[in-house]
Amino acid sequence: MKNFRIVISGLSGILVLIIVIPLVRMVFSADPGVLRSTINDPEVVQSILLTLRAALWATLSCILFGVPLAYALARWRFPGTSIVQGIVDLPVMIPHTAAGIALLMVYGREFFLGKTFSLVGISFTGTEFGISLAMAFVSLPFLVNAARDGFLSVDPRLERVARTLGASPWQAFFKVSLALSWRSILSGAIMMWARGIAEFGAVIVLAYHPMIAPILIWERLENYGLKYARPVAVILILLCLLIFSALRWLSRQKKEV
């Protein structure tokens, strides 16, 4: 038993260190003076706010469409269930620059969909819409899969009982299925938001400008070197750590209540 614990702890610890060491090194090697001036740099602040906001829009819009899809995948057996499931997982597998090119071909000005949206004033190239779309495309599997697992963990007989007690299908969904799986959906949404913030490949193809934080970091690295790219990365990492720790803590607090 003791050896078992040592081996498991050791292997887990190594993995955690692989993640932590580069981040800690980056944070502590940043020049405090440059870090301070970077925090006050309006371009950096704008870029980080844009990143957080675009990822949030992507997540919220995917909740609207992704939760019903997750419910259908969890509850219904229809021809092509596994194909739909495979399609949902696809964005995780394909290179994100390829995803960006695919999105550009559909939502760019050359294709009817892009043209149609531009008629109502929505353009996806070089806009916040485009950034959100690219973020949503590559990160939606995190939300859909977490929500689907959440619905799968709810016994379908609870919904049946609710129906016999007088609930309509909508009431059974909201009062039972959603009420019991919201924590999984929230967890998936947090993961999706986080993945959206980190997105680079798909966004750079569809919307280089306005610049989100990952593109700003890359741009500064290319033009000014590591010294000026690193503080932006450190600020983004610390901010994300703060936000996601708070969200995780809040969702756990709710669970314990």
């Binding site: 016994d155 007989r157 049946r160 009982v161 016999t164 007690l165 007088g166 019991l180």
Partner: protein, 361 residues
């Protein structure tokens, strides 16, 4: 109250076939059958969860075949009770009343009254996760009963309980049925449970109802071998009908009491003998028995769960029969209740029935 007419349902590879059933208002019907026979599927079809391919469902005089579950006014209690884990006991019981828009003051009163009836008042603020099996059972019953359903559907509600709790809840169900007069359909694979609770019994196998009627009648006159086995008749003897005589490997059996004047008899029949109809050291009048002879004891097995002793008797022709003795009877016969001992045995005529043999194979 509830009438099913030729209901057929397809669920994957499984089918419910041509099920017709009539449950009168205030009846307690048990659906008895082995696991995987379609009892739960039938219950859920009645509740509106599955749509029938054909047939009609009438509830309280109204065609409910295509009605949504929430409009059928039925209550269902599942084997694991399916209580809403995110709600308290009070909220679980009040769930249906709130959906109906009943004022909160009335909900409080109704929940309190039902909780009092089922003796769960102290549990109202608790979460279902903190309840014992018996307590959950009562909460699930309260949640369904508070809406005063036309029919209460119970899906093996006692099978997950320990023996003591099961016995207590059985009595509770009997009390609920008697005092509230609610119509109940209760599915089970437990014979003792079915006989204790039901005033009407339907026996199911492979998606079909094989026989229905009063429990005593189904047990006394099973329609075929499957029903005989399902209602616990373990002793089946094949016999030929010859000149109004019954010829078995154990010798001739008095056919008059069994056939009761029928003359359209098949050539081959199967005699069904409940354990109680086989008496060791027969003490009644000779005319009470349709067969008497000597059989050898092959095993004596005390049954801890019922307090009875199971005795297996064999005939040198190969037939094997089981009978049951009380502990007191077994003690009185103890010098003879040994493996290999030959004892006199009689078959009581009133317990023996026959079914045609062609349906047996």
């Amino acid at each position: 109250m509830l009438r099913l007419e030729g209901i057929s349902v397809r669920l994957g590879d499984f089918r419910l076939r041509d099920i017709s059933l009539h449950v009168r208002a205030g009846a307690y019907l048990t659906l008895l059958g082995p696991t995987g026979t379609g009892k739960t599927a039938l219950l859920e079809t009645i509740a509106g969860v599955h749509k029938p391919l054909s047939g009609r469902i009438h509830i309280n005089g109204r065609d409910a075949t295509h009605l949504a579950p929430e409009k059928r006014h039925l209550g269902i209690v599942y084997q694991d009770y399916a209580l809403f884990p995110h709600l308290t006991v009070f909220q679980n019981i009040a769930f249906g009343l709130r959906l109906k828009g009943v004022p909160e003051r009335k909900i409080k009163g109704a929940v309190d009254e039902m909780a009092g009836f089922l003796e769960i008042r102290p549990l109202l603020k608790r979460s279902p996760g903190r309840l014992s099996g018996g307590e959950r059972q009562r909460v699930a019953l309260a949640r369904a009963l508070v809406l005063e359903p036309y029919v209460l559907l119970l899906d093996e509600p006692l099978s997950a309980l320990d023996r003591v709790t099961r016995s207590r809840i059985q009595k509770e169900l009997k009390r609920i049925h008697t005092q509230l007069g609610v119509t109940i359909i209760h599915i089970t694979h437990n014979l003792a449970e079915a006989f204790f609770l039901a005033d009407h019994l339907a026996v199911m196998k492979d998606g079909c109802i094989l026989q229905e009627g009063a429990p005593e009648e189904v047990c006394r006159r099973p329609a075929d071998r499957s029903v005989a086995e399902l209602v616990g008749i373990e002793n089946l003897i094949t016999a030929k009908v010859k000149d109004n005589r019954l010829v078995t490997v154990m010798g001739d059996v008095d056919s008059q009491k069994i056939f009761a004047g029928r003359d359209d008899l098949p050539e081959r029949v199967c005699l069904t003998l409940p354990g109680w109809s086989i008496e060791i050291f027969p003490a009644g009048k000779p005319q009470d028995y349709i067969w008497q002879g000597n059989l050898s004891i092959s095993s004596v097995y005390p049954m801890n769960d019922t307090g009875m002793v199971e005795v297996t008797l064999v005939h040198n022709g190969g037939e094997s029969l089981k009978t049951y003795l009380s502990r007191r009877e077994a003690k009185a016969m103890s010098p003879y209740l040994k493996t290999g001992t030959t004892v006199p045995v009689g078959f009581l005529g009133k317990g023996v029935h026959w079914v045609p043999q062609e349906v047996l194979i």
